[in-house]
Structures are given as structure tokens and as C-alpha cells.
């Protein structure tokens, strides 16, 4: 028992991710943790999307299944698992079966390099960001094969439109990413890096989130990426290929039950993945806000209380809603359930005030909070913006984002290397 | 013999590259469907890339860790393959629009 605690302690104080340290056991543990965390996040996203969208549309959303609809995702999952598995007549069975798995594979493999902390990633590949962009572009293949294998024209058109859109916005995404990578090479000591942990460490060394670097170049690059990532994941306002009123659900029309839930899982995982890229590249990853402006151990201590306070606030919201529940005897179980849920949240909040937990949970909390902010943005976009028509969509991708990205790349390079460029120009003029 | 089979050396990669090259050549020479012929050409290019990167690793063992010429060459080959696939498929679409078939045997408008 003591040896086990010592083993865990010796691992937790290492300074390398389990992948780079060659530690198979901990790498597997991290992979399982990422899997479980992602599933919980997708379930939470399902509930949050329906509730937030409903509140934005001045209605209540699901309220029946659990207290305030909290058990609705579980009911949805059960329904999808128990549905009849229909394969359309004339569909290519092998390809029809493989297509959802390609999309899920692409969406889940990306999380191998996502850094939740300086050592809290499964591994730290030195081509981290390249790997993430590449593997997330494999989901296009899954969508195209899904549309083709359904042997029906609505899915085919939806799949072709969706993949054309994704491929177009990948170019803009790549340019924005490259202009952020350029900023990592401005450390005093390094030559720039593609590794995700290295990018956040570059932001830590330069003391500024890349969002605010070379103002306004960082923000415009972030803006380009934020728009492109919404189009990349086929979400509103770029969701023409899967909109119900246009194409009867596009490429996943013929998929029902468990296969559809795989597409759904892959879509939300891809959203979390591209949000992680945006958070790592521009928003400072796991760094707390104001790393440079509010320096010092007292500010560190003050910021380290925020995770606990957040969970206590969530628990307090649950208790407040428990008090507002109707006093009818039929609502007794729901009231008890909501009170229990609030108690669990408050307990987690109290746990986060203990010093050993407080020191370690900061990185993961800040990363997750920033990604959660992006998820809220996604839902906000869906509730606010009307849908783009397909030709408008392609026009924005190729004629607006691509030239802006290119100009931004050149400007970032020029501004980043201004000292060397000025020295060379001066040298030319002195001769 | 036993250790030669389990000690992966450059020769293993070259043999694998040669096998893929042969498969690609068979595909180009025997299939009638133009798209599959183009995919076999991609197989050939991949076999060549594998050779290049294997030789780059071998070169690194002699000339130090910065002798990455094979890898740079492989990146250029991938770029070339992309350009050639795009143009080839463009030709295919133009031809398909005229003749409604994707068989290589029927590209014989200039035959006497």
C-alpha cells in the first residue's frame, strides 16, 4: 500500500508526460481518463445545448426527465441504443458500417496531444499541432463515405457539401495556426516549436497570451480561427449540410440509433478538440488569467481559490433551484435529486480548497474553463445567427478568410522579425 | 538468419518499398478503370517515399542527426503527388464528360 502511494507520488512529481517518458501504464491511465472525461463532457454538452438554446429562445427546454432535465441525456442515450438498426436497401454494407467509426476515430485520436497541464497530456509529440490538424482532417473522409454509402441523394449532396466546406475552412485554419506558431519562435532561447506543451510554455516565457501579442494581429488570427473552427465542425451558422429544413439532416439522414449517436459523439468531440487548439494557441492553455500583469505568489494564491469558488457557486445554484421547486408530493424525488446533485457539486468545491488539491487542480481547471467558454460560444452562435447559404459559405471561406489569413501571416512575420529586417535594410542603404 | 529477421534494418524497409512498388506497377498495367490506375500511381509514389525516408535514416547514422535530405525529398514528392493527382483527375473529368466511360481501353479516339 505504501509502495503504491509512493509509486503514485513519484509519478505525479515527474516533469514529463507519460508518452515522452515511455511510461505505458500511466499513458493508458491518461487515455482512459481522457475517454471518460470526453464522454461526460459530451453528455453535459447535450444537456447544456438544449437548456441554453431554450433559455435564449425564451422557453424552458427539457424539464421532465430529471430535475430540470438533468437526466435527459441519459434518456436520449438509452433511446438511441434501443432503436432498431436500419440499413437502407442497396447501401454498401461494409462502407456503411465503417463510416461512423472513421469519424469517431478522427475525433478521438486528436486528444492524445491535448495538454491539460505541463505534464498532463498523454504525450507531447514534437509535431503536436500538425498531428491535430492532420487527424481532424481525416473526419472529412468519414463524412464523404457515410454520404456515399447511404445510396440516397440527400445524404450524397449533404456529404459533398459538407466535405467541400470542411476542406475549404481547413486552409484558413492552417494559416491562422501558422501565424500563431510564428509567435512561438520569438522566445529568447528557442527556435520555435510545433509541440502543444511547447506553445503554452512559449506563452508563459513571453509573459503574454498570443491573443494579445502584436495587437491586433493576435486577435485577428484568433478571429479567423474561431470562424473557421465553427465551419470545420459543421455547426451553426455553417450547418447547411446537416440542417433539417434544407437537406433532411444531410449525410447522417440514413443513420439511426447507435450509428447516429456515434456521429453525434464525434461532432461534439471535434468541437472540443478544435476549441482546445484555439485555447492552447491563443488563450494560454492552462495558464491562469493575467500571467504577467498580476504576478507574484499572493496573486497565485488568490487565483488558486477560483476553482473551489466556481464549484461552490454551482452547488449554490442547485440549492436555490431546489428551494424554488413546487411543493407538490409528486416532485419529492426530483427535489431530492437536485439537492443531492447540488451537494455533490458543493463537496467537490470544498475539496478544491484543500492545499494539496488546490496546487494541482489549477492547470486542468483553467484549461477546462476556457474550453467550456468556447462551448458556450458555439451554443450562442447557434441561437443567434441565421444560416449561411452554401455559395455564401464558400465565398467567405475562400474570398474573405484566406486572403486575410495570408496577409496576417506576412504581417506577423514582418512584425516579429522587425529588428533583423531593419538591420538588413540599414546595411543595404549604408553601402 | 533469425536475428536478421528480427533486427529491423534499412534493407527491411527497402524490400517493403519494392513490394509496394510492384503492387502499384501491376495495378497500372492491368486495370481498366482510370481511377484505380491513378491510385496505383499513388502507391508507386508512396513506395518511393518509403525508400527515401529509410535512406535518410541510414544517412543520419553516417553523417549525423541533421542529414535529413531524404525527408525533405520525400516532402517534395508528396507535393508533386498532390499536383499530379489533381491534374490527372481533372483530365479524367474532362474525358468522362465527353465519353461517359472510365475505361482506359476506350481512350482511343486517335487510333486508326
Amino acid at each position: 500500500m505504501h509502495a503504491l502511494v509512493q509509486y503514485i507520488e513519484s509519478y505525479l512529481s515527474s516533469d514529463k508526460t507519460p508518452g515522452t517518458a515511455g511510461n505505458w501504464f500511466w499513458a493508458t491511465v491518461y487515455v482512459l481518463l481522457v475517454f471518460v472525461g470526453l464522454s461526460i463532457a459530451v453528455i453535459a454538452m447535450n444537456w447544456l445545448e438544449r437548456k441554453i438554446l431554450a433559455h435564449m429562445q425564451v422557453r424552458l427546454g427539457p424539464m421532465r426527465v430529471g430535475p430540470h432535465g438533468l437526466l435527459q441525456p441519459i434518456a436520449d442515450a438509452l433511446k438511441l441504443l434501443l432503436k432498431e438498426d436500419i440499413i437502407p436497401d442497396g447501401a454498401d454494407k461494409v462502407v456503411f458500417w465503417i463510416a461512423p467509426f472513421i469519424v469517431v476515430l478522427a475525433a478521438f485520436t486528436v486528444f492524445v496531444v491535448v495538454p491539460f497541464g505541463p505534464t498532463h497530456a498523454v504525450t507531447d509529440m514534437n509535431i503536436g499541432i500538425l498531428f491535430m490538424l492532420g487527424v481532424s482532417s481525416l473526419s472529412v473522409l468519414g463524412i464523404v463515405t457515410a454520404g456515399w454509402a447511404s445510396n440516397s441523394h440527400y445524404p450524397l449532396i449533404g456529404a459533398l457539401r459538407s466535405s467541400a466546406q470542411m476542406v475549404s475552412y481547413e486552409v484558413a485554419m492552417g494559416l491562422a495556426v501558422v501565424s500563431a506558431i510564428l509567435m512561438t519562435s520569438l522566445n529568447e532561447s528557442s527556435t520555435g516549436t510545433l509541440s502543444m506543451i511547447g506553445i503554452v510554455q512559449a506563452q508563459q516565457e513571453q509573459g503574454v497570451w498570443f491573443l494579445f501579442k502584436f495587437f491586433p494581429l493576435g486577435i485577428i488570427a484568433f478571429g479567423i480561427f474561431a470562424i473557421a473552427m465553427v465551419a470545420e465542425t459543421n455547426r451553426a451558422p455553417f450547418d447547411l449540410p446537416e440542417a433539417e429544413s434544407e437537406l433532411t439532416a444531410g449525410f447522417h439522414t440514413e443513420y439511426s440509433g447507435f450509428r447516429w449517436s456515434l456521429f453525434f459523439l464525434a461532432e461534439y468531440s471535434a468541437m472540443i478538440a478544435v476549441s482546445s487548439i484555439a485555447v492552447t494557441l491563443w488563450l494560454g492553455g492552462w495558464l491562469r488569467p493575467f500571467p504577467n500583469l498580476l504576478r507574484g505568489t499572493t496573486w497565485d494564491l488568490a487565483f488558486s481559490f477560483i476553482p473551489g469558488i466556481t464549484f461552490l457557486l454551482l452547488g449554490a445554484m442547485c440549492f436555490y433551484n431546489t428551494a424554488r421547486m413546487p411543493k407538490h408530493p409528486l416532485f419529492k424525488i426530483q427535489t431530492l435529486g437536485l439537492a443531492g446533485f447540488g451537494a455533490v457539486l458543493a463537496l467537490i468545491g470544498l475539496l478544491m480548497f484543500l492545499p494539496p488539491v488546490r496546487d494541482r487542480v489549477g492547470d486542468i481547471f483553467w484549461f477546462s474553463a476556457k474550453v467550456a467558454g468556447f462551448m458556450y460560444l458555439y451554443i450562442w452562435y447557434r441561437g443567434t445567427f441565421p444560416r449561411y447559404r452554401f455559395d455564401q459559405l464558400m465565398k467567405v471561406g475562400w474570398k474573405v478568410l484566406l486572403p486575410t489569413g495570408l496577409a496576417l501571416l506576412i504581417l506577423t512575420a514582418v512584425v516579429g522579425m522587425r529588428a533583423e529586417l531593419l538591420a538588413q535594410v540599414r546595411e543595404v542603404f549604408q553601402r | 538468419m533469425h536475428s536478421a529477421l528480427f533486427e529491423i534494418s534499412t534493407l527491411h524497409y527497402l524490400v517493403l518499398g519494392a513490394a509496394l512498388f510492384l503492387l502499384g506497377v501491376i495495378g497500372v498495367l492491368t486495370r481498366r478503370n482510370v481511377v484505380i490506375v491513378l491510385m496505383s500511381i499513388e502507391l508507386i509514389l508512396n513506395a518511393v517515399n518509403l525508400n527515401l525516408v529509410a535512406f535518410s535514416r541510414y544517412w543520419q547514422s553516417i553523417h549525423g542527426p541533421s542529414a535529413l535530405h531524404g525527408q525533405v525529398f520525400a516532402i517534395f514528392v508528396i507535393t508533386d503527388a498532390a499536383a499530379e493527382a489533381a491534374v490527372g483527375l481533372g483530365i479524367l473529368i474532362a474525358f468522362f464528360r465527353n465519353k461517359e466511360t472510365v475505361n482506359v481501353d476506350e481512350v482511343n479516339l486517335l487510333k486508326w
Binding site: 515511455g22 462502407v95 514534437n126 509535431i127 500538425l130 492532420g134 482532417s137 464523404v144 454520404g147 456515399w148 459533398l160 466535405s163 476542406v167 516549436t193 512559449a202 | 533486427e7 529491423i8 534494418s9 534499412t10 534493407l11 524490400v15 509496394l20 503492387l23 502499384g24 506497377v25 501491376i26 492491368t30 486495370r31 481498366r32 478503370n33 481511377v35 484505380i36 496505383s40 499513388e42 508512396n46 525516408v53 535518410s56 535514416r57 541510414y58 543520419q60 547514422s61 541533421s66 535529413l68 525527408q71 525533405v72 520525400a74 517534395f76 507535393t79 508533386d80 498532390a82 499536383a83 489533381a86 483527375l89 481533372g90 473529368i93 474532362a94 468522362f96 472510365v102 475505361n103 481501353d105
Partner: protein, 183 residues
Amino acid sequence: MNPSLAPNPPVATPFFFYGLAAIMIIGGILVITRKNAVHSALALITTLLAQAALYLMLYAPFVAGVQIILYAGGIMVLFLFVIMLISIERAEKERQFNKQWLVGIVAAAALGGLFITVYTTTTKGRVLFPEGRASYMDMQNTQGIANLLFDQHGGTYMFAFEIASLLLLVAIIGAVVMAKKRI
């Protein structure tokens, strides 16, 4: 961000190499023998991904990343697009192998014999490629490629890089011109 100079010893290399080699060969055989072009394309995607893994085993992570992005995520999407735009159900019912398939196999067998002859030649008992002790600096792979491409004093491939970009421009214009509808 200290570059790790001590190499990580490769783990279970023969197992991964033979597994990936088997995937690649089976994928290659499926590419050239399937009736359905989409099945061939999927088999080719599998081969390309296995090749990216082999590049990782050869300590070439950047080339592996480029292979996944460009080949599997770009060129194969292009292939699948074209296969779906030209609906070739009619082609599945026709004869798949052309009339000179025997000559093709004989030529490929001759080429295979040439390869075997070259690879098993040992002059004076020395093996063909004597391995040195290869060191491995993981963090420096991308930087090394960038040095070869862009460095002011050591970059020998800058001209090739520019010519490649010109080639891509020509290919874009050519593909657009050829696939355009003539009204």
C-alpha cells in the same frame, strides 16, 4: 522545452514493423483488385495511414504529419470526390482487368526479379547497407528540415521549394481549366 538528447529506445520494433508491413501489403492488394473504386480508395487510405506510422518508426515525425494531412486528408478526399461525381456503377459490371494482364504480370515479375537480385547482392561478403549507430534528437526534426529548406547558409533546397510552389500554382490552374464546364 529542452531538447531531449538521450534517445528513447524503440519498443517492440519487429512487431510493429511486420504488423504495419502486413497492413500495407494487404491494403495494396485490395487497391488493385477491388471492383468498387470506393473500396479501393478506402484500402489506399489504410495503406497511407500505415505508411505514416512507418515514418514515425523511422524517426521522421514531420514527414508523417505531412503524409496524414496531405495524402490521407487531401489527395484521398479529392479521389473520393471525383469517384462520387462520376457515378461509375456501370464500370463495376464490366470486365475489370484488361487484355494484356498477363504481359503486365510478367513485366512486374521481371522487375521483382531485378529487385531481388539487387538486394541480395553482397560484394566480398559485406552486406548492402551497413548500419551505423544512429542518434535521435526528437525535438530537432522539424527544425532540421526547416534548416535544410530555409536557412541562409545551409539551406540547399530553397530553390526546389520555390519551384514546387510554382508547380502547385500550375497544377491548380490546369485542374480548374480542365474540369470547368464549357458553356
